[in-house]
C-alpha cells in the first residue's frame, strides 16, 4: 500500500501546485496530508472544484482536483464546455468507487462505466498502482502541460493508505 505522504510527495515533485476537491473515503489520507501541508482548498461541489482549478491554471498554477467518481457526473459539463474547448489542463485524481461491483448500490453504475465515460469524452486516464506511481505522475505532468488537457488518475480502494481502517 502507498503511504499518503509518499503519494503527495510524488504529486508535488511532479510539479503540481494547486489542490482542490471534494472529500472521499478512499482519498481521506491524501486529503489529510494536503491539509496538513496547508495546500488544499476545499470545494463544495465537483463542478466548482474543476472550475477553481481552471482559474488557478489561468493564474499560472498546475492544478489537481480530487474527487469521488460520483462527483465526476457533477463535473462533466464544466470539463466538456470549459477545459476541453479552452484547452485548460488539470490532473483529476478520482477514487474508483464501485470497482468490479464491490460497493454500495449507488456506486455500481459509475463504477462500471467510468473508464468508458472518460474514453468517450477523450480524457486520458491511468489507474494508480504502487509500482507505477512515479511513472504515472510523470505521464500526468507531461500530458497536461504538452496537450493542455485534463487527465485522470483512478485510485482503487486499498492502493493508498487512508485515515480510516
Amino acid at each position: 500500500m502507498i503511504e499518503s505522504d509518499d503519494f503527495v510527495n510524488a504529486i508535488q515533485d511532479a510539479g503540481f501546485d494547486f489542490f482542490t476537491g471534494v472529500p472521499d473515503t478512499i482519498l481521506g489520507g491524501v486529503l489529510d496530508v494536503l491539509s496538513q501541508r496547508r495546500v488544499y482548498i476545499p470545494s463544495v461541489r465537483e463542478d466548482e472544484a474543476v472550475a477553481m482549478a481552471a482559474g488557478a491554471f489561468l493564474g499560472g498554477k498546475v492544478p489537481v482536483v480530487l474527487m469521488q467518481n460520483s462527483g465526476l457526473g457533477n463535473a462533466l459539463n464544466v470539463l466538456m464546455s470549459l477545459h476541453l474547448i479552452y484547452r485548460i489542463p488539470c490532473l483529476l485524481i478520482i477514487s474508483w468507487r464501485g470497482f468490479e461491483g464491490n460497493d454500495a448500490p449507488e456506486h455500481l453504475v459509475m463504477g462500471h462505466t467510468m473508464p468508458q465515460l472518460m474514453e468517450i469524452i477523450r480524457i486520458a486516464h491511468r489507474t494508480l498502482s504502487r509500482d507505477t506511481m512515479a511513472d504515472d505522475l510523470r505521464w500526468a505532468r507531461q500530458t497536461v502541460m504538452e496537450q493542455r488537457l485534463p487527465v485522470a488518475l483512478f485510485v482503487k480502494k486499498g492502493v493508498v493508505k487512508t485515515i480510516q481502517p
Binding site: D17, G55, L58, G59, I85, I88, M145, R148
Partner: protein, 203 residues
C-alpha cells in the same frame, strides 16, 4: 413593478461604467449575453469570456484569486448563473479571498434564452452573499452608485459583492468569435501566468 425601474441601467450601460473604472484587473465574464456584450463594449486581453459551463464564473474567479493573491480579480456574473452555482458563495465566504470582487448583473430573467423569470426577483442575492460572509455587499442600480461602489471595492479588501439591478434590455451583439484556446493563452499572458510555469519547467 420595481420601485427603481425608472432609473435602472441596461446591463451594457452598467458594464460600460465598470470598464471605465477598470485598469488592468483580470475579469472573468459569465456565459451568454454578458460575455458577448463585454466583448463588444471593451475587448481586452484580461477579459475571459465564458461561452459555456454556466454557473461557475465565480468559481473560476475564486481559483484565479487564490492562485494570484497579487492580482485584483473581478467576476462579471448574472442572477441565473449565481443561482446555478450558489454553493460557491459559501466557498467564497469561507475562504475570504481579499482580492476578489464579484459583480452580479441582476435582471431577474434568463435573458439569453428568452426572458424566462429567475428566482432572484423573490430571493435577494445580496442578502444571500451577506449571509455567506462576503466582507462588503452593496446593492445598486444608478450609474453614480455603480461607479462609486465599484471603485471603492477595487481599493478595499474583499471578498466584495456588488449586485447591480439592471433592466432586461439586451444589446444587438454577435457571439464571441475568438477561438477559446487562443483566449486562454491571451488571458494567461495578460496576467503574467506563463512566466512562472516556464521557470518551473526549466528548474
Amino acid at each position: 413593478m420595481r420601485p427603481e425601474e425608472g432609473v435602472m441601467q441596461s446591463r451594457a450601460q452598467a458594464m460600460q461604467a465598470l470598464f471605465e473604472v477598470l485598469s488592468d484587473q483580470p475579469v472573468i465574464i459569465c456565459n451568454g449575453f454578458p460575455s458577448r456584450e463585454a466583448h463588444k463594449i471593451r475587448d481586452r486581453a484580461g477579459n475571459f469570456y465564458m461561452i459555456g459551463s454556466m454557473g461557475v464564473a465565480a468559481s473560476i474567479g475564486l481559483g484565479l484569486a487564490c492562485a494570484r493573491p497579487d492580482r485584483r480579480v473581478v467576476v462579471f456574473d448574472g442572477d441565473g448563473n449565481v443561482l446555478m452555482g450558489m454553493g460557491t458563495l459559501a466557498t467564497i465566504g469561507a475562504l475570504q479571498p481579499r482580492n476578489l470582487t464579484h459583480v452580479v448583473f441582476d435582471n431577474e430573467v434568463y435573458g439569453t434564452t428568452g426572458n424566462q423569470p429567475s428566482y432572484s426577483r423573490v430571493v435577494r442575492l445580496d442578502q444571500v452573499a451577506k449571509a455567506a460572509g462576503y466582507a462588503t455587499v452593496e446593492r445598486v442600480w444608478e450609474r453614480e452608485d455603480i461607479v462609486y461602489e465599484f471603485t471603492d471595492m477595487l481599493n478595499s479588501d474583499g471578498p466584495n459583492f456588488l449586485l447591480i439591478k439592471v433592466n432586461e434590455q439586451i444589446e444587438d451583439v454577435d457571439r464571441v468569435a475568438l477561438d477559446p484556446s487562443e483566449m486562454t493563452t491571451r488571458f494567461r499572458v495578460a496576467v503574467d501566468a506563463d512566466q512562472p510555469v516556464r521557470s518551473r519547467e526549466k528548474g
